[in-house]
């Protein structure tokens, strides 16, 4: 039976050999939620970029460019990190280059894996179905907040473990913790998160509607899969 493990911070990735496994990169608030929303709404592909200046170079190649630093849109970019930006008609059919404080780094640091997927509450069931079909060991790579453990990425890992229960071993300590935190709080994820100083900081940026949007489970069926430099949408039939 394959297993699912959870890496709570990119700083811990050296302890998680990824070869032969599938990595699921997650930054629920809000990078990977925005990426899933974008691909579900017709963006053709996404280039996840670590640095602002590199991201901006894509503007000349007819990409939409998106950037967030410390929770707000960076100057000179078309879009920020709110999933609502990616519900607009103007994104359909476009290419997107995006850099964020935490999420794009988690994706790029996961490249040692056989495959890299992008997960969010919005597509957690679709990611689970993809993983069940693949049958390989899984590592959830939580972006955290500047490397520090955060609850929302942990709750995603727990929700994913819950979907994989019975078909994957959940007995790594991090997985057991994430799974119990999810099952204990699944009827009121927002209430649990609201105790967090990190989420209180995000709320001061007036993004409560974003947070509520990002906590919806299974809104989309698309799984962003990294192919070379591009995240492309895959939808299992």
């Amino acid at each position: 039976m394959p297993s699912i493990d959870v890496c709570f911070s990119p700083y811990l990735l050296p302890l998680y050999p990824l070869e032969g496994k599938i990595a699921v990169a997650v930054d629920v608030l809000r990078a990977t939620s925005s990426m899933v929303t974008a691909l579900a709404n017709g963006v053709a592909h996404i280039v996840p970029v670590s640095e602002l200046h590199e991201c901006l170079t894509y503007k000349d190649r007819n990409y939409l460019v998106a950037a967030e630093r410390d929770g707000i849109k960076a100057d000179g970019f078309d879009l920020g990190n709110s999933p609502f930006h990616y519900l607009e008609d103007e994104v359909k059919g476009r290419f997107l280059a995006i850099t964020t404080t935490n999420g794009t780094q988690a994706i790029n640091l996961s490249r040692a894996a056989d495959e890299v997927l992008v997960g969010a509450m919005l597509n957690v069931g679709a990611v689970a179905n993809y993983l069940i079909k693949a049958g390989k060991d899984v590592v959830v790579v939580c972006a955290g907040w500047k490397g520090i453990f955060n609850l929302e990425d942990t709750l995603f890992a727990g929700a994913l473990a819950d979907r994989l229960s019975g078909q994957f071993d959940l007995n790594h300590d991090a997985t057991l913790a994430a799974h119990q935190l999810y099952t204990t709080n699944k009827t009121d994820l927002l209430g649990f998160l609201s105790k967090s100083s990190h989420v209180q900081r995000l709320e001061r940026l007036h993004i409560l509607p974003d947070i509520e949007f990002c906590l919806q489970e299974d809104k989309y069926k698309v799984v962003p899969v990294l192919q070379g430099d591009f995240l492309v949408p895959v939808e299992l039939t």
Copy 2:
């Protein structure tokens, strides 16, 4: 109000500035449980040492020397890592030098803090009382298993947060997670831990009695406090 934060792995310590704070190093299974037991039973002081060869040099200075690697006593040492070793009469009044796979490193990596305490379930209430009296911000430094997140150190952090509730801010994400995991499982900590592949590995070493011993809360009132190179017993009256 001071705060309590939790660092789930020594690998994450660069993200936790310790200056001005009190660090509580923990390795419930079994290094810090053994240290607390030793000082509660009359060991005069303990030198936590990172390397085997350094630890062995203390033998010539009339120290008891203790060493554990990968769960078992290392060759040439007087004692291993079982708390039962430290209940014997022969340890009373002796000096002890000890090195373990995870616990002694967590202590030595915490030295940037204003003070370093050693915590275990066995003395969690005493540690809480010490921290309440000190009134400084606290970081729990979990040893983990070779740096990887583990449940037992997390449950200690949650138990400590529970004792500090109302007098310390618990709203860091790691603290909220640890606290909820503890409160959900406090009536059956062993049952929860038994799901863990890490604890199953320890059980294969036939140390279930050790595990049960280490999960007892508030058995001892002693707080090991690092003074220079020595952990000395402090008992608040």
